[in-house]
């Protein structure tokens, strides 16, 4: 066979480089176009409310008053509840699957966990309405109120629906993602690290705690961020259980609303331009919040990943 000439190989290189560059540019372009569209669409609302759109705490389509604070609050708090529940749970699952489970059950169990991530969110929403919400109303909320009712977070009417329901359903939805990715991270920790700790006379658990988890910490952080991203953007399941009332209340028993959920809810009924534009602007806020969170998360991962060198010279 004849060897391809030097020139044609160089040419292939150039084509390949061009194509990948193009693909990268398309991505950047897409993001810019979306951002521009959102900015353009939100012009009327911005002209009317200015930055008050972000600080305003009333969202009232009937009176044409749009402030997105309750939506941002609902988005952030429901995601936070989800993380508080999902992170320890997922870490437990990942550690069990990667380190402790008997060889035979590892593969089937891991598969099951990944399967959970593939269930459509509307199904989670239905389950939330018929199983989770009644349980929260009759069991969880009375229980929390009895024992932790002195905290402002656990006061008010037991609706079942509300911030707590949204947080829990989000937790259930992001647990498979976080645990599956964390499991991969733990499996990628080199045997030499485990053996180093074991050879010092560490127990299995001490080895996990002192060698495996620290080694995988940036990857685990990445997994958590992935989960957070899903929680913030989740729409369907949240809409079905959160109660859809835009308000800022310290109590997680209260009805609430998130950005993603209100857009899905009101878009089809928004007939005046201001309302439409306010929804687009809410979308823009979501876009910015997600972007900021991702940037912070990225920085965190880099910081942690670099930590060995970075930390020491301080």
């Amino acid at each position: 066979m004849q060897k391809p000439s030097h020139q044609s190989r160089q040419w292939g290189d150039a084509v390949f480089r061009g194509l990948t560059l193009l693909a990268a540019l398309v991505m950047v372009g897409l993001i810019l176009v979306i951002a521009l569209q959102l900015i353009k669409g939100s012009q009327p609302a911005f002209a009317r409310f200015g930055l008050g759109f972000i600080t305003g705490s009333r969202w009232d389509p009937v009176h044409g008053d749009f402030g997105s604070l309750p939506l941002v609050y609902g988005t952030v708090v429901s995601s936070l509840i989800a993380l508080i529940i999902a992170v320890p749970l997922s870490l437990g699952i990942a550690i069990y699957l990667a380190e402790l489970a008997p060889q035979r059950v590892r593969a089937p169990l891991s598969f099951l966990v990944e399967l959970l991530a593939a269930i459509p969110s509307v199904v989670y929403g239905l389950w939330g309405i018929f199983v989770l919400v009644p349980w929260i109303r009759t069991s969880l909320e009375p229980f929390l109120h009895r024992f932790l009712g002195w905290l402002p977070f656990f006061q008010g009417t037991f609706y079942g629906f509300g911030m707590l329901a949204a947080g829990i359903i989000l937790a259930i939805m992001i647990t498979p993602t976080i645990s599956a990715v964390s499991r991969e991270v733990l499996l990628a920790v080199p045997v030499s690290q485990r053996e180093a700790m074991l050879a010092l006379g560490a127990t299995r658990w001490e080895t996990i705690k002192m060698a495996v988890l620290p080694y995988g910490r940036s990857g685990i952080l990445g997994a958590v961020i992935l989960g957070l991203g899903r929680a913030i953007g989740e729409t369907m399941a949240v809409t079905m259980v959160i109660g859809n009332r835009p308000q800022v209340s310290p109590s997680v028993f209260e009805l609430a609303q998130t950005i993603a959920s209100i857009i899905a809810n009101e878009f089809s009924e928004a007939f005046d331009d201001l309302h439409l534009s306010a929804l687009v602007m809410a979308g823009l806020v979501l876009f910015i919040v997600t972007l900021l969170l991702n940037i912070i998360a990225r920085l965190l991962v880099w910081r942690v990943a670099r930590a060995p060198e970075g930390m020491s010279r301080e």
């Binding site: 180093a196 700790m197 074991l198 050879a199 006379g201």
Partner: protein, 252 residues
């Protein structure tokens, strides 16, 4: 001479594959015992049986006894975790903990087992780093990561880490194979100094290294112990033809 460690009719398997076959080998107190033999003959597997590290690999099995000061470490009620504290190990590739500082690497074992009475972590870390000759090189950067050191320094750090829990015996599996000649020389010097206080078993690919540091040498072939004796005798006057073939470089 005191026998610190004694393998008796010891065998080890990976699954169905037997790679250590009925080995009986003594390890004498405050002596350096080298294990030599061609690649794949079971040296690493055998040395890992001496502190019950073999069993952390799934699907492995052992048979026989290993006596530590006369007590069988494979007896039922013996806790392998305790054995590994008493019989330390240094691996072929330096494996410091990358998320820990130099200081914390050495102190890692202290966090597991607590401090010896009347000492501070600072004292123990300093003493161990001095023992491995690393103190002067790192004393101004103890907060740096363990992986910011060179390969040879990392291996000495790993030795210091193993010494910090005050083991009675130190097992070393080709501790110099990833290192340059100068680092190798430093570690060989170190091993010779350590024998004052510790009993050492070292696996090595290099017959020269065995000849330079070891008091006793064991020759393994295909999982069997072919010959064991004082290093000088093994190298100058081997009794077995296969040993002679190996040390004269006729195979392996």
């Amino acid at each position: 001479m005191d026998t610190r460690l004694m393998a008796e009719d010891f065998s080890a398997w990976y699954g169905q594959n037997q790679v250590v076959k009925n080995v009986t080998l003594p390890v004498f107190a405050n002596q350096i015992t080298a294990i030599i033999g061609p690649s794949g003959c079971g040296k690493s597997t055998f040395i890992r049986c001496l502190n019950r590290m073999h069993e952390v690999i799934p699907g492995t099995r052992t048979r026989g006894r290993v006596l530590l000061d006369g007590e069988n470490i494979y007896a039922n009620r013996v806790d392998p975790v305790e054995i590994r504290r008493r019989v330390g190990m240094v691996f072929q590739k330096p494996n410091p903990f990358p998320t820990m500082s130099i200081f914390d690497n050495v102190a890692a074992g202290l966090r597991l087992h607590g401090l010896p009475p009347g000492t501070t972590a600072e004292e123990v870390v300093k003493r161990c780093l001095k023992m491995v000759g690393l103190w002067n090189e790192v004393k101004d950067r103890l907060r740096d990561s363990g992986v910011s050191l060179s390969g040879g320094q990392q291996q000495r750090l790993c030795i210091a880490r193993a010494l910090a829990v005050e083991p009675e015996i130190l097992l070393m599996d080709e501790p110099c194979s990833a290192l340059d000649p100068v680092s190798t020389m430093k570690i060989e010097e170190l091993i010779k100094e350590l024998k004052e206080r510790y009993t050492i078993v070292i696996v090595t690919h290099s017959m020269h290294q065995a000849a330079r540091v070891a008091d006793y040498t064991a020759f393994f072939l295909n999982g069997q112990l072919i010959e064991f004796g004082p290093t000088s005798a093994i190298f100058t006057n081997p009794r077995d033809q296969r040993t002679e073939d190996y040390i004269t470089g006729r195979f392996g």
